[in-house]
Amino acid sequence: MAQAAAVAKPPAPARRRRASATPRRLPYLLIAPAGLLMLGFIAYPVISVFYYSLQEYNPTKPWRNGFAGFDNFVRIFTDDAVFWDTLVFSAKWVFVEVGLQLLFGLALALIVNQSFVGRGLGRAMVFSPWAVSGVLTSAIWVLLYNSQTGITRYLADLGIGSYGTSWLSDTSTVFPAAVVADLWRGVPFFAILILADLQSVSKDLYEAAEVDGAGRIKQFWHITLPHLKDAIILSTLLRAVWEFNNVDLLYTLTGGGPAGETTTLPLYIANTSVDAHDFGYASALTTVAFVILLFCSIVYLRLSKFGGENK
């Protein structure tokens, strides 16, 4: 309303109007909705997780609830073999998934960045699994892997393997089977981000390299890769955090089994809090997971010299 009044005053110089249109409260008003939402639904829960991690808190055993000091943490590091198993599996899962997704995603982005007939359709098709949810990915791969009418049956028809093989319930095949399912959905993520970054490589650089007689492989190493460096570092980090935290796929595909073989740390935490109702201990595990994640991220950014010499 105040602005409308200002507009009505014709001789008012623009500078004055501009000052009046920019009250000092405005930026605070603009970030207030986002800030309040994040305070209430991210910051407060995080703080309460830290608080509960120092408590014995289990709604099904209320008589034992109360301050526990560092008991939960002592238990994690000295008396919980499952914690170490799930931590190791999480590391393995993140490392393999992010590595393979980056490799295939980079290759895919370089391919669909070329100009060729049918590029639009090709891009749309190879990127499409990105939009598919973890649960749906599980549903699809449950259909592919099921022992009666899945892929193995038709492979057995061709004389490969035997009938009734179920890759998801065999401890020796469940890991690669889950990795492939998650790759199917994860590769497009990297391909999209890398393709987006490829759009900003200056074509002059390639022309110059061409004149200098550099071949395609040399151009890739000396122009494309340095250009992509920051995007790769950032996307691998985001993806690693995401792969670590995400429980959708493994929860629905394997349920962490068989025999706990594919239980990640977050899955273990979810089971501890949701099934066992041991909120205090689950909160301590969450705190540990959070610290590990933060520590690894900082180390990774330091080692990879993010935003370094190129900028």
């Binding site: 200002a6 603009l30 986002a34 939402l37 599980s138 549903a139 699809i140 999209i192 122009i223 935490i269």
Partner: protein, 299 residues
């Protein structure tokens, strides 16, 4: 690396430019000289890997139960009818659409406001706020389920779609806001200032001058929010116990965790879950690439 390579090469390119005796070399740069088979062969192999799972679920959803044929013939729509009515996917679908659209609208509006502030103003808590946005990327929503459940229980929002919409919006916000503020930074401030001189208020100037230029960015952020909330399942699983309130991913999980999985119904449910996002995605795919390349990369 770039500078080292470019410095000696750039003058060479300039020297080549005025003298056009090698037009072939100038007009057919290296990135166009890739032999076709080196594109189509790996792309084809990868397409097989991408498309077989889609074909598989389509096959299972269309062929009669118990069939082992590799082509969906004779076609039956029994699985779809069954899953839509008996397994309440019709209800789930409506709920999912509601959650998706509400999350899209809320995320976009709140992120636009916050993103504008971050792009155009310097204010005291700006650095701290940016840091908080980045840090929140490391906070796993899945690990906050218990405290979030308690909050929504206190707000009496358990079993209401509002809880899921709120939670999805909040966890979608930080990235959306960073993206939008980068998009806004790419719009020259002088355009807005010119509009003020012409007598527009700040809001009107934003709507007339900035908003149209933000279209790729808003499409990218909005579709991201929609697809993400459409797909996400943990919040819905935790906060909605009432079957009539649940969303499609929860319905799929219920089908999968049954003792004997009805594969036909699961496949049909999966198709229902996939169709909206795949359609959205096919339409916005082009915007997404330009959107991300403008917003995500430039810090």
């Amino acid at each position: 690396m770039i500078t080292k390579e470019a410095t000696p090469a750039a003058p060479a390119a300039e020297r080549a430019a005025p003298a056009p005796p090698h037009p072939a070399k100038r007009h057919r740069p290296a990135w166009d000289e890739v032999p076709r088979w080196q594109i189509y062969l790996p792309l084809g192999v990868y397409l097989v890997f991408t498309l077989i799972p889609f074909y598989w679920i389509l096959l299972f959803s269309l062929r009669p139960a118990g069939s082992t044929s590799l082509v969906p013939w004779p076609v039956t729509f029994d699985h779809f009818e069954k899953v839509w009515t008996e397994r309440s996917f019709g209800t789930y679908f409506g709920n999912s659409v509601l959650v998706g659209v509400a999350t899209l609208v809320m995320t976009t509006l709140v992120a636009l406001a916050g993103g504008y502030a971050l792009a155009r103003f310097d204010f005291r808590i700006k650095r701290g706020f940016m840091l908080a946005l980045l840090c929140s990327q490391f906070v796993p929503g899945a690990l906050l389920l218990v405290p979030l459940f308690e909050i929504f229980a206190n707000l009496q929002m358990i079993n209401s779609l509002g809880s899921v919409i709120l939670a999805e919006t909040v966890f979608q916000l930080p990235l959306s806001m960073i993206l939008i503020s980068n998009f806004i930074k790419n719009v020259p401030y002088s355009l807005e200032e010119a509009a003020w001189v012409d007598g527009c208020g700040r809001l009107r100037a934003f709507r007339i001058v900035v908003l149209p230029l933000l279209r790729p960015g808003i499409i990218a952020v909005g579709s991201f929010a929609f697809v993400h909330s459409w797909n996400h399942f943990l919040f819905a699983l935790m906060f909605l116990n009432n079957q009539s309130k649940q969303t499609i991913p929860v319905g799929l999980n219920t089908l999968m965790s049954a003792d004997s999985v009805d594969l036909g119904a699961l496949a049909a449910g999966g198709i229902i879950a996939a169709v909206p996002v795949v359609i959205v995605f096919a339409f916005i795919q082009k915007w997404l690439i330009t959107g991300f390349s403008a917003g995500a990369v430039k810090g």
